[in-house]
C-alpha cells in the first residue's frame, strides 16, 4: 500500500500520483512506440484499429463517463470527422490542418446538436442523440455531392511534412501517427480533468441540482463537454477514414454508436483507463469468439455452425453482467483486485459492498 502524504494543493492535482506511476506510464509508451518492431503486420493493423477505437472511446468518455450525459449517436460525429477529412484533403488542405479541422467541425456540429437537448433532463439528450445517430445514414445519402452517398469515397494518402503515410504501404508510420494522436489526447484529457472545467463536469455528473447550486453554469458546461467530446470523436473519425481508405454510409450505422457506448461501459465509465480497456475488449472479442466457435465445433465434430448475431448477443450479455455486478467496468474490477493485493492479508470482505439506495429523482412530478 502506497501512502501519499500531501502537503500542498499542487500535489493533489499532479499528472501522475507518484514517480512509480510516471515510470509505469513511460514504460507503457516505450512498449507502444516500439510495437512495429515486435509485432507482425496483421497484428499491427489490428492494434491501429484498437487505437482509433480508443480515441473514439475517449471522446465518448468525456461525455458519458465524466459529464454523465449518455450519447447514443456518437457514430454520427465519427462520420462528421471522417467525411470532413476527405473533403478537406481533396480540397488541397494539408493533413496537419485537415485533421484538427475535421475534429473541430465534428465538435461544432456536436455543440449545435446539443444546445436544444441540454435545456432538459439527461434522458432527452440521449434520445435526441439517438435520433441524430439514426438520421446519419439518411443525411449522408442526402448529401451525396459531398459524401459520395451509396458509392462512398476514397481517402487520399496522407502527406505529413513531406513524408508519405499510407495505411497499407507504411503501416508503421500510420500506427505511430495514431499513437501520437492518442497520447496527445490522453494527456489533454488528464489536464482537463484536473482543471476547474473537469471538476465542473464531474459535479454535473454526480448531481445536476447540486452543481447548479455550486455556481456551475450547467447548460454551458454540458455544451462544452459535448463539443470537446465530439471534437475527439471527430479526430477518431478522420483517422478511421484513413484506416478504411474507402468507405460509405454503412461504416456509420446506428450500431456503431451503440457499440461505442457499450464499449465505454464495459471498460469502466468515469475513468480514462476504461476507454482503453473497452476498446481492447471490442477489438479482441470477435477474434476470441471465432476461435472458441472453431474449438467447440471441432470438439463436437459438427460442421461450422454459425448463428447470425451471435457476437452482438454475447457482447450484450457481457454488458448486462457488468452493469449488474460491476458498474465500474473492467477498470473498477481491476482497482478492487489491486487494492486487495496491496492490502493482502488485511482486506475486509465488505470493503466494496454497494450501499443500498432509493430512487433520487431530479424531477418535480
Amino acid at each position: 500500500m502506497r501512502i501519499h502524504f500531501k502537503t500542498g494543493y499542487g500535489q493533489d492535482i499532479r499528472l501522475f500520483e507518484d514517480s512509480r506511476e510516471a515510470v509505469q506510464n513511460a514504460l507503457l509508451i516505450l512498449a507502444a512506440v516500439s510495437a512495429p518492431w515486435w509485432l507482425d503486420e496483421y497484428m499491427l493493423g489490428e492494434v491501429t484499429y484498437v487505437l482509433i477505437w480508443i480515441l473514439a472511446g475517449l471522446g465518448l468518455m468525456i461525455l458519458a463517463g465524466h459529464t454523465g450525459q449518455p450519447s447514443l449517436g456518437h457514430g454520427a460525429f465519427l462520420a462528421c470527422g471522417a467525411y470532413m477529412e476527405v473533403i478537406l484533403l481533396e480540397a488541397g488542405v494539408p493533413f496537419v490542418l485537415s485533421l484538427p479541422l475535421a475534429g473541430l467541425f465534428a465538435g461544432v456540429v456536436g455543440a449545435v446538436v446539443a444546445i436544444p437537448a441540454l435545456r432538459m433532463s439527461g434522458i432527452y439528450l440521449a434520445i435526441a442523440t439517438l435520433a441524430f445517430g439514426i438520421m446519419t445514414e439518411d443525411i449522408i445519402i442526402l448529401l451525396t455531392p459531398w459524401t459520395g452517398g451509396i458509392e462512398g469515397v476514397f481517402t487520399p494518402t496522407i502527406s505529413l511534412l513531406g513524408i508519405e503515410i499510407d495505411r497499407y504501404g507504411d503501416p508503421d508510420r500510420f500506427y505511430w501517427l495514431c499513437l501520437f494522436v492518442v497520447i496527445l489526447i490522453t494527456v489533454g484529457y488528464k489536464n482537463i480533468l484536473r482543471s476547474p472545467t473537469g471538476r465542473a463536469f464531474t459535479a454535473i455528473r454526480d448531481s445536476e441540482v447540486s452543481a447548479r447550486a455550486m455556481g456551475v453554469n450547467v447548460a454551458r458546461m454540458k455544451t462544452l463537454a459535448f463539443g470537446l467530446s465530439c471534437f475527439v470523436t471527430g479526430l477518431a473519425g478522420a483517422l478511421l477514414a484513413h484506416y478504411l481508405t474507402a468507405f460509405n454510409y454503412e461504416a456509420f450505422l446506428i450500431l456503431i454508436s451503440i457499440q461505442l457506448l457499450l464499449m465505454v461501459t464495459v471498460g469502466g465509465l468515469g475513468s480514462i483507463h476504461g476507454a482503453y480497456y473497452g476498446a481492447i475488449v471490442i477489438g479482441l472479442l470477435p477474434v476470441v469468439i471465432a476461435t472458441l466457435r472453431q474449438e467447440i465445433s471441432d470438439f463436437l465434430g459438427a460442421g461450422n455452425s454459425s448463428v447470425p448475431g451471435m457476437e452482438t448477443a454475447i457482447f450484450a450479455v457481457i454488458i448486462v453482467a457488468f452493469i449488474i455486478y460491476e458498474p465500474l467496468g473492467i477498470y473498477g474490477r481491476w482497482t478492487k483486485i489491486r487494492i486487495w493485493l496491496e492490502l493482502f492479508p488485511l482486506a475486509r470482505k465488505d470493503m466494496f459492498r454497494r450501499q443500498k439506495s432509493y430512487l433520487k429523482t431530479e424531477r418535480m412530478k
Binding site: 432527452y124 435526441a128 452493469i323 418535480m364
Partner: protein, 291 residues
C-alpha cells in the same frame, strides 16, 4: 381523396406507435427508467401471438391467442423486472439505459434463433377484407387496430383513475419515498408497471403483426415510438398516443409529398423540432427540480 386514404393508413400505423410509446411512458413515469428494449418486447409479443395463432405452430383461435400472448408477455416483463432491472434500483438512469439496450440485443438474438430471420405474417380473421366509404378503402385490419387502441387507452385510463392499484401506481411514480411511507409496496408496484407495459407491448405487437409481416428486427420500430413519446412530452399518457398519431400520419405524408430520401428522417426531424421549440413536449408533465 388520396390524402384521406393516406390519413387513414397513417392513423392506423400511429395507433401502434402510440401504444408502444405508452409502454415507454408508463415505465418512465413509474421508475424513471427509460426502457430502450421496449421495441424488442413488442417484437417478442408479436412473435408469441404468432406462435399461438399460426397453423404451423399451435393454431389456436385468434382472440384466444391474443389474450394468451398478453398474459405471457405480462408475466415475462414482471419476471424481467424482478430478476434483472430491480438489481439497478437506485442506480443512475444511465445504467438502466445501457442495460436495456443490451437486453434488446439479447431478445433480438433469441427471437432470431427461435423464429428465424425470415419475415412472417400473422393469420388473422381480418386479413384481406375491406370496407368502402366513398372512395376511401378501410381495411378490416386497420379498423381493428384503431378500435383496439381506443379500447385499450380507455381501459388504461379507467385503470389509473379508478382502481386502487392504478392510484397506487400513480403515487409511486410521483414520489417513491413518500409512497413507500404510505405503505405502498413500491417494488412490487414497479414490477407490476413493467407487467402492464409488457401487456400493452404485446397488444401493440399483435396489432402490428395483423397489418403486415414481422421479423426480429421489428424492435427498431421502438425508436420511432420513442420519437412519439418525446413529441407527447415524456410523462403524459394521452401525449404518447397523440405523438404516435403525429408520427404515424407524417410518415406516409412525407413519403407521398416530400422529395425522396426525406421521408425516413421526417419523424426524427419533427421530434428534434419539438425538442427545440417545446422542450418538454406538447403535453408537458415533467419539470426539472429548480435550485
Amino acid at each position: 381523396m388520396d390524402f384521406l386514404q393516406l390519413l387513414v393508413g397513417g392513423i392506423a400505423n400511429g395507433c401502434v406507435y402510440g401504444l408502444v410509446a405508452l409502454g415507454f411512458v408508463l415505465i418512465y413515469k413509474a421508475t424513471e427508467a427509460v426502457n430502450f428494449a421496449h421495441g424488442d418486447i413488442m417484437m417478442l409479443g408479436a412473435f408469441v401471438a404468432l406462435t399461438f395463432v399460426n397453423h404451423e405452430w399451435m393454431g389456436l383461435p385468434f382472440w384466444l391467442g391474443l389474450i394468451l400472448s398478453v398474459i405471457v408477455m405480462g408475466v415475462f416483463c414482471y419476471l424481467l423486472e424482478v430478476v434483472v432491472i430491480r438489481q439497478l434500483f437506485g442506480q443512475p438512469q444511465f445504467s438502466v439505459v445501457v442495460l436495456t439496450i443490451a437486453l434488446g440485443f439479447v431478445l433480438r438474438f433469441f427471437a432470431g434463433v427461435i423464429w428465424g430471420h425470415e419475415p412472417q405474417s400473422l393469420e388473422t380473421p381480418m386479413a384481406g377484407k375491406t370496407m368502402n366509404f366513398g372512395d376511401i378503402v378501410l381495411g378490416y385490419d386497420e379498423a381493428f387496430v384503431i378500435i383496439a387502441t381506443i379500447i385499450l387507452a380507455g381501459g388504461l385510463y379507467l385503470f389509473f383513475a379508478r382502481t386502487r392499484l392504478g392510484v397506487a401506481m400513480q403515487a409511486a411514480s410521483q414520489n417513491q419515498l413518500a409512497a413507500y411511507y404510505m405503505g405502498i409496496p413500491v417494488k412490487r408496484i414497479s414490477s407490476l408497471i413493467w407487467a402492464v407495459a409488457g401487456m400493452t407491448a404485446a397488444v401493440a405487437g399483435t396489432l402490428f403483426a395483423s397489418k403486415g409481416s414481422i421479423d426480429p428486427s421489428l424492435g427498431l420500430l421502438g425508436i420511432k415510438a420513442f420519437a412519439a413519446a418525446v413529441i407527447g412530452g415524456f410523462g403524459s399518457l394521452p401525449g404518447a398516443i397523440f405523438g404516435g398519431l403525429i408520427i404515424g400520419i407524417v410518415e406516409p405524408m412525407a413519403q407521398a409529398y416530400a422529395p425522396p430520401g426525406y421521408s425516413q428522417i421526417a419523424p426524427y426531424a419533427i421530434m428534434l423540432l419539438v425538442l427545440v421549440f417545446r422542450p418538454n413536449g406538447l403535453f408537458a408533465q415533467i419539470q426539472q427540480k429548480k435550485v
